[in-house]
C-alpha cells in the first residue's frame, strides 16, 4: 500500500463573519500533497491563499470539510493537540516572523529541535548548517530586534526547518527580502526539497514559485489551476541570449 499523502483536504471551507455578513475565504478546496512534493500556492490577494495554509497548520479553524495530515484527521483536534502536532511535524514561516524577542537568534533556531527531542549537539549542528546556508552565521548571538527585517525572515525560515518537519508551510517567505537574500532562500529551499522535504508555500514571487514541482492557483477561494511547472515550450537553447531577446 502506498503511504498516505502528507496533506489531504476534502471540500475544505472557511467562511468569516464580517458584522453578521458571511464572507467566504475558502470555498471547497480539495488538495492532496504527497511526501516530498514542493507546492506553490498563487493567486491574487484575497483569493484565500493565506487562509488555506493557516488552516493546514491549525492556526485557523475550518468552517466545514476535512483536513488530513500524514493519514490522520486533524481538523477536529483541540488547540493543545494542534500545538503538539505542530511541534512534532510542522514548520511554519509566517509573513511576520514571530521570533522570541528575548532569546538569541541561535536559541530561536535551536528551540524547536530541542522541543522535538533532538540532543543539544544535534540541534546546534542543524542550526549552524541552516544559518550558514542563509548567510547568517555571524548573527547567531544577536537578539532578533537587532536584525533587519530580511534577516529576521531568514531566521524564521531556519527555525521552521530546525526540526526537519514532515511539512514546511510558509506564507510569503521572501516577502521582505531583496534579490540577493531571496537567492539564499531559494537555494536553501531547493536543497532541503532535494533532501525530501515536503513544502507548501504561498507566494506571489515567481522566482520562488518556479522552483516548485507544482503550482496551485486560487481565485475567489477555489482552485482554478493545479499542475506542474513544465519545460518551456520552444526550442532548447544554450544561453540567456534568447531569453533576453524574447523579453525585450
Amino acid at each position: 500500500m502506498s503511504p498516505p499523502p502528507i496533506v489531504n483536504t476534502v471540500n475544505l471551507v472557511r467562511i468569516y463573519q464580517d458584522g453578521g455578513v458571511p464572507v467566504p475565504a475558502v470555498r471547497g478546496v480539495d488538495l492532496k500533497v504527497e511526501a516530498g512534493e514542493f507546492v506553490a500556492i498563487m493567486g491574487p490577494s484575497g483569493s484565500g491563499k493565506s487562509t488555506l495554509v493557516h488552516m493546514l497548520g491549525g492556526l485557523d479553524a475550518r468552517t466545514s470539510g476535512e483536513i488530513w495530515l500524514d493519514g490522520s484527521r486533524v481538523d477536529t483536534l483541540s488547540e493543545s493537540a494542534w500545538a503538539l502536532l505542530r511541534r512534532r511535524k510542522i514548520g511554519f514561516v509566517f509573513q511576520f516572523f514571530n521570533l522570541v524577542a528575548n532569546m538569541t537568534v541561535a536559541d530561536n533556531v535551536e528551540l524547536p529541535a530541542l522541543l522535538a527531542g533532538a540532543s543539544p549537539r544535534e540541534a546546534r549542528e542543524r542550526r549552524e548548517y541552516l544559518l550558514g546556508e542563509l548567510g547568517l552565521a555571524d548573527r547567531a548571538d544577536a537578539a532578533p530586534a537587532q536584525l533587519a527585517g530580511g534577516e529576521q525572515q531568514r531566521v524564521a525560515l531556519a527555525r521552521a526547518l530546525a526540526n526537519r518537519p514532515s511539512l514546511l508551510l510558509a506564507d510569503e517567505p521572501t516577502g521582505n527580502l531583496d534579490s540577493r537574500n531571496t537567492r539564499d532562500v531559494l537555494r536553501l529551499l531547493g536543497e532541503v526539497h532535494r533532501d525530501g522535504q515536503t513544502i507548501i508555500l504561498v507566494t506571489h514571487d515567481a522566482r520562488v514559485a518556479s522552483l516548485a514541482d507544482r503550482v496551485v492557483s486560487l481565485l475567489d477561494g477555489q482552485i482554478v489551476d493545479d499542475g506542474a511547472v513544465g519545460p518551456v515550450r520552444r526550442r532548447p537553447r544554450a544561453s540567456a541570449g534568447d531569453v533576453v531577446e524574447l523579453r525585450s
Binding site: 515567481a206 518556479s210 489551476d225 511547472v229 518551456v232 544561453s239 541570449g241 531569453v243 533576453v244
Partner: protein
C-alpha cells in the same frame, strides 16, 4: 544594434569581427550573440547613411580587411542617442490581445488562456533561475540582464493576476 556599433567605434576604429568579439566580451552569455552577417549588413547601412566610413587595410596572405571608423555625422547621431531618455516598455502585448479577443469570438476560454500563460511564465522563470545559477558571480553585466528579465517577468505575472481578477 546600429547604435551599439557606433558606440564601440567611438572608442576606436575596428573591423566587423572585432566588433562582434567586443559585444560578446562585454555582455557575456546574457546577450543574444550577434552573427557576423548581421554586423556586416548593419555596418553597410551605417556607411550608406554616412555615419561610418571604411578604409581597406592590406593583410599579408589574406584579402584586405575593412576597418570602420566613425564620421562627424556618426558622432552626432551617437551624442543624440546618449542625450535622449530610452523608450520604456509599451503595452502592446500579444497575449493581452488574445485574452480580450479570444473569448469574445469563441476561440478559447479565458481561464484556460490565463492558466497556460501563467505556467509558461513560470517555466521561463525557472530557466532564468538556472541560468543565473550557471552564470559566474563576477559577471555583473550578465547577471543584471538576467535580473532585469526576471523583474519584467514578475510584472507580467502580476498583470496576469490583475486580468484574472478584473476581466468578466
Amino acid at each position: 544594434m546600429r547604435l551599439s556599433l557606433l558606440a564601440l567605434l567611438a572608442k576606436e576604429p575596428a573591423h566587423g569581427y572585432e566588433l562582434k568579439q567586443a559585444l560578446e566580451q562585454i555582455f557575456g552569455r546574457a546577450y543574444p550573440s550577434p552573427n557576423i552577417g548581421q554586423i556586416y549588413v548593419t555596418l553597410g547601412r551605417l556607411e550608406k547613411d554616412g555615419l561610418v566610413k571604411a578604409v581597406d587595410v592590406e593583410q599579408s596572405n589574406r584579402p584586405n580587411k575593412k576597418v570602420y571608423y566613425l564620421t562627424a555625422k556618426g558622432r552626432e547621431a551617437l551624442d543624440a542617442w546618449a542625450d535622449e531618455p530610452t523608450e520604456g516598455p509599451r503595452v502592446r502585448d500579444e497575449f493581452f490581445m488574445k485574452l480580450v479577443l479570444a473569448p469574445m469570438t469563441g476561440v478559447a476560454d479565458r481561464t484556460a488562456l490565463i492558466n497556460r500563460q501563467r505556467r509558461h511564465y513560470l517555466a521561463l522563470m525557472r530557466d532564468l533561475n538556472e541560468l543565473a545559477e550557471r552564470t559566474d558571480r563576477g559577471d555583473r553585466v550578465a547577471l543584471l540582464l538576467i535580473e532585469g528579465a526576471m523583474l519584467h517577468l514578475q510584472a507580467d505575472l502580476d498583470w496576469l493576476e490583475r486580468c484574472q481578477e478584473d476581466l468578466p
